[in-house]
């Protein structure tokens, strides 16, 4: 099949893909196509009907659909080419993109490809919870899609495993829809979602949150009838004798998100085991020239606003790539005391902001960028949580050499 030439192909029309496309268009680029698997653009925002989006990007608080509309309505007005119902099934190192669409296969030869596929939810299978396999077990996002898009109630007596933000938001949503949410259980000694969601989604409705607890048994023939929860020790092993059986018909899992990088791997791009996303340089370029990645497919964000901002920065780099003026990035970046650092390579010739996530909750800590044994940039954080992504700016002027940079997070 002959490939159609396209300057920029964007895979995914969620908050990252849309923000990148509009930024490219604002800067005069017109030869763009967005490929979207769902029937309409907007991504996960379509089902996130709660408010709290947009404070950083737009300076006001919006619901998910309203935040998405800021992008989709502009895209429609500008006549941006968005192919919906299109699943990308192939991506090569030399940037040939193959998509299965309702009209058959489409093949593009792109000058640049933007990966904006977002992430998937971790499921019961990944947790290996023993027991039967009844209905009534949903990931939080699937329950959210049933309730907010399909008008289908998922259950009446619910328990939530995992304190991720979507799980807590679904605890509130289920409560408002008349279900009884008995508790949220979290295996870690700290919550994995934002403090404001513990307050407004759990505390407001009297839903208890149990840390150091997990589900150790699932019971039910056709429908879930009960679960067993146990306390866990420091190594997250269930403690015998702490089992408690809880009758329920619904178990919601909010146990983590996994960047969806099958296409990234197919193209041969290097993956960072800490983020499960691509290794990128300060231009959000992967290890394959001309293939870029931003948003939740690169690393899981707490807020859609930062996804949009990251994708807009990516769009600027893509234009530089297309005009052949992208700076080389020889300086390696790694983390110490933090779960991951993005980007993993920088030029040392431009101001750069690195993003990272603390490995454990900390109070009064300091994050520094260290090069050649010297602290070249640092910032004090009154508190740091694994639930909250943090950032450190490193000005171009402070780089000492092309030696590797270590981003060190430590108690002050």
């Amino acid at each position: 099949m002959k490939a159609a030439a396209k300057k920029i192909v964007i895979i995914g029309a969620g908050p990252a893909g849309l923000a990148a496309a509009l930024r490219l268009r604002d800067r005069g680029e017109r030869d763009i196509v967005l490929l979207e698997r769902e029937r309409e653009p907007g991504g996960i925002l379509r089902q996130c009907i709660h408010d709290g989006f947009g404070l950083t990007r737009f300076g006001e608080t919006l619901s998910g659909p309203e935040y998405a509309a800021r992008f989709t309505e502009r895209a429609a007005g500008l006549g941006l080419e968005i192919v919906t119902g299109a699943t990308v099934i192939g991506l090569t190192t030399d940037r040939v993109v193959t998509a299965a669409t309702r009209e058959g296969l489409r093949v593009y030869q792109a000058q640049a490809v933007i990966l904006a596929m977002g992430c998937r939810e971790r499921t019961r299978g990944a947790l290996s919870i023993p027991g039967q396999r009844p209905s009534g077990i949903f990931t939080a996002g699937v329950a959210q899609a049933y309730m907010n898009l399909k008008n289908t109630m998922v259950g009446r007596e619910a328990v939530i495993l995992g304190s991720g933000d979507i799980g807590m938001i679904m605890a509130r949503r289920l409560t408002l829809e008349g279900a009884h949410v008995k508790a949220v259980f979290e295996i870690q000694p700290y919550p994995s979602g934002l403090p404001r969601n513990i307050e407004q989604c759990l505390n407001d409705y009297g839903i208890p949150l149990y840390l150091n607890h997990t589900v150790t048994q699932i019971n039910g023939d056709s429908r879930l009838s009960s679960i067993v929860v146990s306390k866990v020790d420091e190594a997250r092993r269930p403690i015998p004798g702490t089992e408690r059986e809880i009758p329920c018909d619904t178990l919601i899992l909010s146990v983590g998100l996994i960047p969806e990088n099958e296409l990234t791997r197919m193209a041969g791009a290097q993956i960072d085991p800490d983020t499960a996303g691509a290794v990128v340089d300060e231009h959000y370029q992967t290890s394959i020239p001309g293939i870029f990645s931003a948003g939740n497919v690169l690393h899981v964000h707490d807020l859609a606003d930062f996804v949009s901002l990251e994708a807009e920065a990516l769009a600027d780099s893509v234009l530089e790539f297309c005009s052949g003026s992208l700076r080389g990035c020889p300086i390696e970046v790694s983390g110490e005391g933090c779960g991951h650092v993005i980007p993993q390579r920088v030029s040392g010739k431009a101001d750069v902001t690195v993003s990272f996530r603390p490995r454990r909750p900390m109070r009064g800590c300091i994050v520094s960028a260290v090069q050649d044994g010297k602290r070249i940039a640092s910032k004090r954080l009154p508190r740091a949580n694994p639930a909250e992504m943090e950032r450190l700016s490193i000005p171009a002027s402070v780089f000492l050499s092309q030696s590797p940079i270590k981003v060190v997070l430590q108690d002050d």
Binding site: R46, I49, H50, D51, G52, L55, T56, L62, S63, P65, E66, A69, N148, L149, K150, N151, L176, E177, L194, P195, R196, I198, E199, Q200, D204, D302, L303, R383, E388
Partner: protein
């Protein structure tokens, strides 16, 4: 009295330690912006929340339309408010921003649609 609050007004989620006497705020620490102080003052007198839910749509390309309030309401009114909203059903097409209920329960806020829903046969609203 000293109490700790988690401010919900923005994703920072500041942990605020506040002291109060007779419902009056006398001290406030940990807020990174002035809105935090205002949040605590409101929490001490009458906690307010915005809510989002959905209403059914007849003849729409989607069975539901998401809605929210134009402003927060007293926390204790949440369930009564949701009940009143769920009694409403819209006819497609729905416009984004369309008023779904005016002056909800006399609380001085409106319920608005937060997305457009076109009619089922594809004609847009």
């Amino acid at each position: 009295m000293t109490r700790t609050f988690t401010c919900i007004l923005c994703p920072n989620g500041c942990e605020i330690t506040a002291s109060a006497e007779g419902g009056k705020l006398t001290g406030c620490e940990g807020n990174r912006c002035p809105r935090g102080r205002e949040y605590v003052r409101q929490e001490l007198t009458c906690p307010m929340r915005n809510i989002a839910t959905s209403v059914t749509v007849r003849g729409g390309a989607l069975p539901l339309c998401p809605v929210r309030l134009t402003g927060p309401i007293p926390k204790e009114e949440i369930f009564r408010a949701v009940g009143a909203i769920h009694a409403v059903s819209l006819e497609a097409p729905v416009r984004r921003g369309q008023t779904v209920l005016q002056d909800l329960l006399g609380l001085g806020v409106d319920v608005i649609a937060t997305r457009a829903v076109s009619v089922l046969d594809g004609r847009d609203g």
